[in-house]
C-alpha cells in the first residue's frame, strides 16, 4: 500500500487530510512538528511527503532539505501564504510541487497520483539528451559513465524533454505533462526546477547545452551527443 507522510501543525487539517487520503486509498502517517519528521521518515520510508511550510520546531523548507539529503522521494509543499519567497524557497530546497491553501482536495490527490505514477512506471528504453544517457530501466542519468543523482521529478522533466527532441515545450505544456496541472497557473514552478536541474546536469549552468531556453516560448532538448 502506498504510504503518505502528512506534516502539518494544524491538527484538524492534518486529520482531514488523513480522512481524504485514506478515502483515496493511501496509508497515512501524521506528523505535527518539523523536528519529528526525520525520525519517522527513516522508519516509515513513505512514498510521498506532504509538507507544510510553517511548522513548529523546524520549518518546512529546512525539513525539505533534510529529506533531500537522504531521499529522492516526491515532496509536495503546502503553503498558506502563496507568497513568492515561500514558494521559491520550498522549490529550491528540493520540493517537487506545491499547493497553496486552500487547495482543492481533488486536485491535490490528482497531483499526488501524477507524482506517484511517474516515479513507479518505467519505460523500457534508453534516451539521449545532450551528452547524457537516460536509462529508464535503471532510472538513472549517465554522463561519461558517471551516474548523476536526480529527484524523480527532475528525472521526469528531463525524460519529457528528451522524448521529443525537436519540440519546444512551453512552460504550460511542461506543467501539464510533468506536474499534471490543468490549464497552467504558475509557471515559476517550471523555472525553478529547470534551474535546479541545470545545476545538476549542465557542465556550465550559465551556458546550458542540454536544456536550451527558447526566448519567449519555453525550453527544448539539446542535440543528443553534442559535446559541451
Amino acid at each position: 500500500m502506498t504510504s503518505i507522510m502528512v506534516v502539518d501543525d494544524d491538527q484538524d487539517l492534518a486529520e482531514m487530510l488523513g480522512i481524504v487520503l485514506t478515502g483515496a486509498g493511501y496509508e497515512v502517517d501524521l506528523v505535527n512538528r518539523g523536528d519529528e519528521v526525520m525520525a519517522l521518515f527513516t522508519s516509515q520510508n513513505p512514498d510521498l511527503v506532504l509538507l507544510d511550510v510553517m511548522l513548529p520546531g523546524l520549518n518546512g523548507v529546512e525539513v525539505c532539505k533534510l529529506i533531500r539529503e537522504v531521499s529522492m522521494v516526491p515532496i509536495v509543499m503546502l503553503s498558506a501564504k502563496g507568497d513568492k519567497q515561500d514558494v521559491v524557497a520550498g522549490l529550491e530546497a528540493g520540493a517537487d510541487d506545491y499547493m497553496v491553501k486552500p487547495f482543492d482536495p481533488l486536485e491535490l490527490v490528482a497531483r499526488m497520483k501524477v507524482r506517484l505514477r511517474r516515479s513507479m512506471t518505467e519505460v523500457n528504453s534508453e534516451l539521449f539528451i545532450g551528452n547524457l544517457k537516460i536509462d529508464q530501466i535503471e532510472h538513472s542519468i549517465i554522463r561519461d559513465g558517471q551516474v548523476i543523482a536526480l529527484t524523480r521529478l527532475e528525472f521526469d522533466l528531463l525524460v519529457a524533454l528528451a522524448k521529443e527532441p525537436g519540440r519546444v515545450f512551453s512552460r504550460e505544456a511542461l506543467l501539464s505533462e510533468v506536474w499534471g496541472y490543468r490549464p497552467a497557473t504558475d509557471t515559476r514552478l517550471v523555472n525553478v526546477h529547470i534551474q535546479r536541474l541545470r545545476s545538476k546536469i549542465e557542465l556550465n549552468p550559465e551556458d546550458p547545452k542540454i536544456i536550451i531556453t527558447v526566448r519567449g516560448v519555453g525550453y527544448k532538448a539539446g542535440v543528443p551527443g553534442s559535446s559541451q
Partner: protein
Amino acid sequence: MKTPLKAWRSSLVFRVTGTIVALSIILIWLLGSALFSRVSSGIFDEKLKLSILDAQSTARNTQIQLSFSKYQDKAALTLVFDDILALPPKTYESAAKEVAVFSFSNIEKTFKFDGTSNQLNPNSIPISLRETTRKTNTTQWERTNMVYLDGRVEPAIVVGNDLTISGVGKYEFYVIFSLAQQEKTMSLIFNYLLLAGVALTLLIGLTTYFAMRRLIAPIQDAARVAEELTKGNLDLRMDFQGEDEIASLGYSFNEMAVSLQQQISRLENLSKLQQRFVSDVSHELRTPLTTIRMASQVIFATRDSFEPTVARSAELLISQIERFESLLTDLLEVSRFDAQAAVMEIEETDLVALVKETIDYVHPSQDRMIILQAPNSPIMVDVDPRRIKRIIRNLVSNAIDHRENNNIDIRIVETENEVSIGVRDYGSGFNYTDRKMLFERFWRADSSRARSTGGTGLGLSIALEDAKLHQGEIDVWGERGKGAHFVLTIPKFAGGSIESKPISAQL
C-alpha cells in the same frame, strides 16, 4: 557654460551683483566727473590768474624797454624787437612762454614789425583775440594751441596787451603760456580718478558677490537638501552655525526634515504592519478554510445517500466555500495593491497565445460564443503574464456574465509600441455615465439585481490596478441594452508608455 541671460534669470547672486555694479558705475562716474571738472577748472583759473599777471608785467617791462630806445629806422626797431623775441623770460614755474608782436595796421611801413619767438606759428594767436586787443586798451586772454613751425602743438593761454612807441604807433603784444604742465596734471588726475573708480567698482562688485554668496549659500544648501529629501534621502540635514537668521532657517529646516522623516517612517511602519496583518490573517484564514473545503468535499461526495434538503445544502456549502475563497484571494490582492506591495514579474510573452489560453481557461467549451480576431503571428510583449492573464480573465468573465446569450467579440490590435485587447459584448450593458464607477470595489450596476455568477465585485478594480502596473489603461464604453466594450491598452516594452491606442473603446 551658462549664457549671461540664463545666468541673469537663474542666479540671484548674479542679478544682485550686476545691479549693484551697474548702479555704482553710474554713481562713481557722476561723482568723478564733477570732481574732475571742479579740480580742472581750479587749476586752470590759478594758471590764468598767474598768466595774466605775468603777461602784464612782461608787457610793462617791454614797454619800458621800448620807451628808452631810439628808433630812426626800421633796422633799429627790428633789432630791439628781435632782442625782445629772442629770449622771452621764463615763467617762475619754468613752463614754456612765448611772445608775439604785431604792428597795428595804421603804422608806417618803415616801422612795421610782425614776429614771434622760437619759431611759433603766428596763426597760434586767434584772430578774435587780435581783434579785441586792437579795439580795447585792456588786457585780453583766450585759450588756444601753440603751434610751432616744426609741427609741435601745445595747449596754451594767450594774453594780449598793447605796446606804444611814441611817434611811431601801437603794436599788439601777446604773451603765450603753455598749459602742457596743467594738461599733464589733469590727465594724471583723470587717470587716478578712473583707476579709483574702477577699483571702487570692482571692490563693490566683489564685496556684493561674496556677501550674496555667503547669504545665498545656506539657501542653496537648503535647496540641495530639500531635493535630496524629495529623492527619499531622508537622513540628510542642513549644516549651520551661530544664531543668526540663516541659522534659524537651518534650524527650522532641519526640524521640518525630522518631522517629515518621522511621519514617513510612521506611515511606512503602518503600511508594513498592515501588510503583516493582512498576511497573517490570510494565513490564519487559509488553513481552516482548507479543512472546511476538504470536509465539504467529503460530504459532497456522499450527498447521494442524504435526504434531498441535506444534499442540496452540501451543494450550496461547496459553492459558497468556493466563492468565499475567491473573495479572500481578491481581497488579499487588493490589500497588496493598497500596501503598494504588488511585485511585477516581467517576462517576454506572446500576447496572442496568452489571450487564447485565457479564453480556453475561462470558457473551455468549444461553442462559438467567443469570437477572437487576432493576428496570425505572435505579438511579443514584456509583461507579467500572470497579471495580464488575470486582466483578460476578468474582462472575459465579466462579458460572459452580462452577455445575455449573445456572442462576445475579442480583438487584438497592435501598433509599433502599443497593443490593445478589446472585449465587446452585446448584452445588458450599463449606463455610460456609470463608467467610472465600474472600477470601484464592490460596485454593482443595479444593486437590486440578483447576482448572476457571483463575481467578487473586485475583478475590474484589480484589473485596473494590474493595467496601471504595466503603465496601461482600460477604456470602457457601454450603453444599457446594447452591451459593453472594454479595451485594455498596454505598452509592448517594459518602461514604455502609451502614445496611441490601437483600439478605441468608443464605437
